[in-house]
């Protein structure tokens, strides 16, 4: 067994671990953060297909039920209802019409009309983008509101009406489709598969050597503080391009030899992320402040080691976040000094 005494062993273990950790170096924080953001967005987007699948199964089930109904009526129409008995057993007014392969049929009998109908091109939602249709039977066909975002947002993004700002929703499904029911009959409508509001591509991270280069990279005006506390110098300037029109700049400013740091993030995309309960922690205070005439939220997280403050606001479609391990007063002074 070992000849080491307790203190020697303690010292040896401590030195071994410190030596091992000397090789750790400094993690590439900006790159890591960019990757995390990208992954979060990708995960948010991959959640949708799961819901899409659910919706698809719903639609397939409805289609199957419609097919069963159709078969049942064809084989033994009188079995279902009194109306069925009266109508279908009188073969003279039974008319089988077209079947386009998507379960489309129309029946007309007597003065009563029941539509087991074909949805028109206008009723179908966005058929140019989503060629695959399913069949759904309902008195009112309506996609679940909970799974859809407002049509304004949908249109806004689809049409690209706001070049400087877009909204990415974490649950971005196609807009709702509502068909009024024929009170006397059953309506069958085609609804398209849901389409993601946006597609994630590969984000590209650029690093700039100075603010001038960063401003050339970003497709929006990038602000930079004219005031910085003593010892704070820019360490890293990066632009993460989501696509050719949108992205975010991150300016990291640090103070050598201290924990003090500042991150200035500017993004021309508004991203909705569900509110987390972490936000409700008792050691976080929040209040409204004014930055450059804009209403901003100042959040201060109190830690054992000090304060972590951040201010965020939106101006002209651009979200600004100034955050750092410093007092809220100092952070606010930096935010107030931001200039294009």
């Amino acid at each position: 067994m070992s000849n080491y005494r307790g203190e020697q062993l303690d010292e040896l273990i401590a030195q071994s671990i410190r030596q091992h950790m000397d090789d750790a170096g400094e993690p590439r924080a900006d790159l890591l953060w960019a990757k995390i953001q990208q992954d979060v967005r990708q995960q948010e987007s991959t959640r949708r297909p799961f819901v899409t699948r659910l919706l698809r199964w719903q639609v397939i089930s409805a289609g199957a039920m419609a097919a069963c109904l159709f078969i049942a009526l064809t084989i033994y129409p009188g079995a279902l209802t009194e109306v069925g008995k009266r109508s279908f057993l009188d073969g003279s007014n039974l008319e089988q019409v077209e079947d386009s392969g998507v379960g489309v049929a129309s029946r007309e009998f007597g003065d009563e009309k029941a539509k087991v109908g074909k949805a028109t091109e206008e009723q179908a939602f966005d058929n140019t983008v989503t060629p695959m249709y399913s069949v759904e039977v309902a008195e009112r066909v309506r996609t679940d509101d909970a799974l859809s975002v407002g049509s304004a947002t949908t249109d806004q993004i689809r049409n690209g009406e706001t070049p400087s700002a877009r909204t990415l929703s974490p649950l971005g499904f196609g807009g709702s489709t509502t068909l009024e029911a024929d009170p006397d009959g059953v309506q069958m409508a085609m609804v398209p598969d849901s389409k993601l509001l946006y597609e994630e591509g590969s984000f590209i991270l650029h690093e700039a050597s100075d603010i001038a280069e960063l401003r050339r990279l970003a497709p929006f005006p990038v602000l930079y503080p004219t005031y910085l506390p003593d010892g704070f110098v820019p360490k890293r300037l990066s632009y993460l391009a989501y696509d050719d029109r949108t992205g975010e700049t991150v300016i990291t400013i640090t103070k050598e030899g201290s924990l003090g740091h500042l991150n200035l993030t500017q993004r021309n995309v508004l991203i909705d992320v569900p509110l987390e309960t972490y936000d409700e922690a008792p050691d976080i205070t929040r209040k409204a402040v004014q930055v450059g005439g804009n209403e901003a939220k100042l959040t201060v997280t109190r830690l054992k080691e000090g304060e972590y403050s951040n201010i965020n606001w939106v101006h002209d479609g651009i979200t600004y976040w100034v955050s750092g391990r410093m007092s809220p007063v100092e952070l606010k002074a930096i935010a107030d000094s931001l200039k294009p």
Partner: protein
């Protein structure tokens, strides 16, 4: 206290949470991942994975004082998993071999030798996760047993027991390795290689 009105529950606040969390703790998370893996790239991957897991589990957090401990635990596990997967994929053991050195001499004189430390670091890395964790907090983070107890939310007695066991395992391995090395050099210890 929280100055919060209903209209303040705006979505734009939430992304900050992960960013705040990241900025506050990425070093701790990365360091522990490196401690486990000894590999910078793997440590960065584990850090990334840790914050992604954190993002999905933020709502389970109640006590922000425990955030770092929580992240450190996730990071340790993530690093171990990644290391295991990498070993399996490569089919090669990543552990470093013990350095060859002369087994003679007083351990006290060899205390600061790089080889000795290298060997100890290897033995530390081989500890079971519960010992590995307390050793990191004790010897790298320089926490007291009470602080470790609060950090990990385990009784102080358990911390002491784990540290004692970790020390004995390392000491035993050091002793055995010395014996083996002496035997390899032709000593007559009777140890089979």
């Amino acid at each position: 206290m929280i100055d919060r009105r209903p209209e303040e529950k705006i979505s734009s606040v939430s992304p900050i949470n992960l960013e705040v969390l990241f900025n506050m703790h990425y070093r701790a998370v990365y360091n522990v991942a490196f401690y486990v893996s000894g590999d910078r790239n793997l440590a960065e991957d584990a850090t990334q994975e840790t914050f992604l897991k954190a993002y999905h589990k933020l709502n389970q957090l109640r006590d922000t004082d425990k955030v770092e401990a929580w992240l450190v635990r996730i990071s340790m596990n993530a690093a171990r998993d990644l290391l295991r997967r990498r070993k399996r994929a490569s089919g090669v053991a990543l552990d470093h071999d013990l350095p060859d050195r002369d087994g003679s001499g007083d351990p006290e004189q060899r205390l600061l030798s790089g080889e000795e430390k290298h060997a100890v670091a290897k033995f530390v890395g081989e500890l079971a996760p519960e010992y590995h964790e307390v050793v990191y907090l004790k010897y790298y983070r320089e926490m007291t047993t009470i602080q470790i107890s609060e950090y990990l939310e385990i009784p102080e007695g358990t911390v002491k027991t784990r540290l004692r066991k970790a020390r004995s395992i390392i000491a035993a391995k050091l002793g055995v390795s010395e014996t083996i090395k002496r035997a390899a050099k032709g000593g007559r210890t009777g140890v089979k290689l």
